[in-house]
Amino acid sequence: MFGDIFNAQFVASSIRVAVPLALAGLGGVFSERSGVINIGLEGMILTGAFTAVAVTNFTQNPWAGVLGAILVGILLGLIHAVTCITFKANQIVSGVAINLFASGITVFFSWLLFGETQIMVKRNLPIWGMPLPNIGEGSTFVRNIIVMFAHHSPLVYLTIITFILAHLILFKTPFGLRLRSVGEYPQAADTMGVNIIKMRYMAVMTSGALAGLAGSFLSLEQAHFFVKEMSGGRGFIALAAMIFGKWTPLGTAGAALLFGVGEALAMRLQGVLAIPVQFIHMVPYLLAIFVLVSAIGRAIPPAADGIPYEKEIG
């Protein structure tokens, strides 16, 4: 039984489940590192998922769908940024409004454009990597390696590259240092000549782009359809991953993978395991609360997270 569950397929599906969580979580990292809480990730994923399917079906080109999802994510990020940064409105409220807006607008356009709330994807992205050898041909080991790591949607590789880039940008470039300083101590950053407003806008729009990309993966690659409310809390699990990963890209990726393993396990163990699957679904959320509370390895958010920046005049 053990071999039936923990095989190469299992690893591959864990990775697939983890991708949208990781991408959206990375979006959270960017936004919160700059000092803006983004609980609108959920809505941005949902809108991205819808846009990806809609654009793909109209253009017959899934790449256009992915691009569309990213652009729509940026747009929602822009709305969040205008509300929270320019108007200094409450960031939680703005995030909630974006989620509400996303739930409404996706179904609204589903009805208007397609006349239904479940839309099948007409064109799929290609699978990139090495060709999969037939079972029995060649070594099983090589085949397993290919299944696990070299036979995926292009978006999976894109995600890995994005994470490496994000890590480098945040921690190895002057830009990253400025971004983090804006989230920790904006007054100091301002004195050093960093444009707080501009940095925060860029961070929040990046977070929208990443959440949109996450949504496109969800609908185009994972489900192959769009259905209303399909984000199903992934934006919030992404936030949990971000907290568990202590607001770092690599930590977030690790946490997302862990949640991916949990979810893949839950899917496989349905009915087999003594623990009901609902309890496995609780794990990411419980872990997030636990790391926030526990004294050991406590997760501490950026100091200026959630606080609008007031420039001191005179």
């Binding site: 739930s103 409404g104 009805w111 919030f236 609902q278 959320y285 609360i289 926030l292 958010p301």
Partner: protein
Amino acid sequence: MKSIKKFDYYTLLEKITPLIAVVLALLVGAIVIILIGENPIDVYKLLFSHAIGNRDGWGNVLFRATPLIFTGLTVAFAFRCGLFNIGGEGQMYIGSFLATWVGFTFTNLPAFILIPLCILSAAAGGALWAAVPGILKAKTGVHEVIVTIMMNWIAASLTFFLVLKFKAPPTEEMIAAGVKQMIPHTSEIAEAARLPRLYTIFKFLNIDFPAYNQVNMSFLIAVGVAIFAYYILWKTNLGYEIRAVGYSPLAAEYGGISVAKNIVLAMVISGAFAGLVGTNEVMGYKYRWRPEIFTGLGFNGIAVALLGKNHPLGVVLAAILFGILNYGGAIVNIFTAGRIPRELIMILQAVIVIFVVISDEVVKRLIRQRRKIL
């Protein structure tokens, strides 16, 4: 010399920002309706005439407003203590599930015991679920927003597990047809646990009101709770302390008020309000627990509280406005044969929320500027 309070244009403006936001949102809605190719005036006329043009419409509006009063008060009450309780969703799930469980378990109790017991368990369940983020905030300083979000999802999974555990046995028709429950739900609560519809009162008063209208006693409970919230906040020591913590925790602590105690209490009371949603959705409407009857009620409570400026009276009015939009939106959807999807209303609600927070900020800045000039 007596100071005469001058009529202040800007203070008035600050008070009516929600109205401005609603009007602006309706304008945005009108643009969307024009883009679909319909006449916005006709659509709005249809929406409002059906929602508030007759008693049946009003009943439907109040029925939809009831849960939003509870969840709106949830957010507003905690906010007065400086807390952002966005866990209304989870607190509502747990509270109403507990009430349902009591309702279908203690079936041989008489109504005058079972109804209060169910109402109390609804409140207790919500209070319990809100106590966790309250205690964590008070003891470790963890932000309540994150914990309440996480608690929402834990509650969703937990209640889903419980629904499967207490799933209603298939009815004879279902066995005959060989079908299963599409969406799992619990058994029905006892007759004695059900809240009567308002129709019974209207009948007693000889007022003509349709018997099928779903507005029930829970609406009166909601109004009562709003008055209770007002009383606690502005007429008791506890409320004074809660508001003091909300204004400035440091000053409150210095003045001898326990910040930790008030944070926990404010969360518990606020959570109890959320749990009471079960009185409308379960005890007054479906008589059983189904996950989909609660969709979005908790989060809409945030919008309602915001629109109602975190004041109990404002919350009731905002909830009624949302009730009008929700019911009217459904009607418009039917009358236009789906050409105007009811989700238009969700979009409008989101736009209202964004406009409220933005116009609040704009007015605040105007006032600040004016003070500088003076």
